[in-house]
Symmetry: C2
Subunit: 337 residues, 2 copies
Amino acid sequence: MRLKYYPYTLELKHTFTVSSNSRTSTPVVLTEIEHNGVTGYGEASMPPYLGESHDSVMNFLSRINLEKFNDPFELENILTEVDRSASGNNAAKASVDIALHDLVGKLLGKPWFKLWGYCKDSTPYTSFTIGIDKPEVMREKVREAEGFKFLKIKAGTENDKENLEAIRSETGVPIFVDANQGWKNKEYALELIYWLKEKNVLLIEQPFPKERIEDTAWLTERSPLPIIADEAVRRLEDVIKAKDVYSGINIKLMKSTGMREAHKMITLAKAFNMKIMIGCMTETSCAISAAAQLSPLADWADLDGALLIKNDLFTGVKIENGKIILNDIPGIGISKK
Amino acid sequence: MRLKYYPYTLELKHTFTVSSNSRTSTPVVLTEIEHNGVTGYGEASMPPYLGESHDSVMNFLSRINLEKFNDPFELENILTEVDRSASGNNAAKASVDIALHDLVGKLLGKPWFKLWGYCKDSTPYTSFTIGIDKPEVMREKVREAEGFKFLKIKAGTENDKENLEAIRSETGVPIFVDANQGWKNKEYALELIYWLKEKNVLLIEQPFPKERIEDTAWLTERSPLPIIADEAVRRLEDVIKAKDVYSGINIKLMKSTGMREAHKMITLAKAFNMKIMIGCMTETSCAISAAAQLSPLADWADLDGALLIKNDLFTGVKIENGKIILNDIPGIGISKK
């Protein structure tokens, strides 16, 4: 097997703001694994706050040697070796995992949701994220998001209530609130969640900094809405730590090192009776379609990443009136534009 | 899809004795699921102490309607419905799960160890079980088991030390000791385990009745050998209960309801850093070969079930000098004799 990769920069349609930063582009690295004339595609997306970059991913991939593996089906062995080659580098690892899954699915002639035994029709509706901005800009974005069954709003600033009211002045659709670790006081958070519930908010993501385990468990126990871990849960071992602290987990391929570990995380979380959200970074339809293969298992999805960019390189899984539409294309369900 | 099934009785080469009973045959039910001219084979094995029988399995299967499912790939939906159709009936459920896996693997043209991403060569050596008997008979059985790298001895009687000495007079190979819930006193058990360790015993299965959780956790904490759950762990939810009580789990398809849940159990147990044994009942090469697909994930195997019977109906996964030898036959790796 041969691994190729090249850097690319996603241009965002709108400046994207979370509680910690703003940006207009996202660096990604695209991978290809070729075996007997068949090519699998993968992707690493590196929003700056996660600590990876074009340089770090290219450097990680330059040290991966897949030529010694003759059988792409040995996913467990290959991906374990990739994982052990360096700590961290989760997005870089995901780019190998996704390309290998795409390759193996193509060799089997089936998409992964099917190889895993899941049903095409049981995909959830994705939310569409409204970044933090001036109220009039947020209202405009909400109008653009017409047709989506769920919106997601970033919170964790001083203006959480105002921002939500700005959206509510345009629409009554259910909302996911992502605090991105931005809340500080647990009593304030609980009171705010009761207020948000009245405004048809469905869930809260990552209310406190991930280190504040006791406060989070306190909140989860009392909250009338599910509390979902995002920054607190990257990989499999974190799911065990999140049990009894959060109501559910937001799984993203760029955190989990790819599809294989993400699937294991879902098995664990479901055994713990935790809720599953499948999320993303800003990504092309490559990584989004890979994540969508897992979406029949999710209670909620936030897979709008490819809708937020101007220069997608792939066509893949579609979003129609907010619903994730899987296709029958083997592998991760994509073709190059 | 159409489900067919028929009863069969396995004749044992030797009378088989555990701490609770003796027998010379085992009832099984063989299943077939047909779809577009391709047939998948499955099996339920019903050792009497597990509470299933020819009648109960045939009755369960008579109420399963697979004709409404057009796509055998929808394993999760189909098997969830089979599971919900009645409580218990784990072997009956396994017989549907195994046949469906055999069918889907055949439709994909690959064996399941490969579809799951595991490596053919990383299978363990299986143990060979020496039933409890008169010392001279046990010594004879040990001589017949020459070539096996591990033996398994049933314990939990008054004569555990004598039985072990009888085996040790013939061979020095490492031994798994399965107490089948037969031990009573925890201090005695700990002392015995220290003695057994000196005799090259590698692990202890199910020392106490499964309800004695505190005594088992006490023993596991102090034992110089790993303590493996058997009767205490049937299904996925039991793995969570076994964490911090046992060092590992013995997974058997007839307990787990089949391959799909067994695979999930392994994912969970590995995330908990628990050891994995893959075991069996007396079964034909059908169910044994199905279990063997999971064996690359196991620390230890006890898959001698088909070697103990006179009238196997299938050829499948082989045992060569004790090692489990997977083949490349699609599905569960079997053909009808």
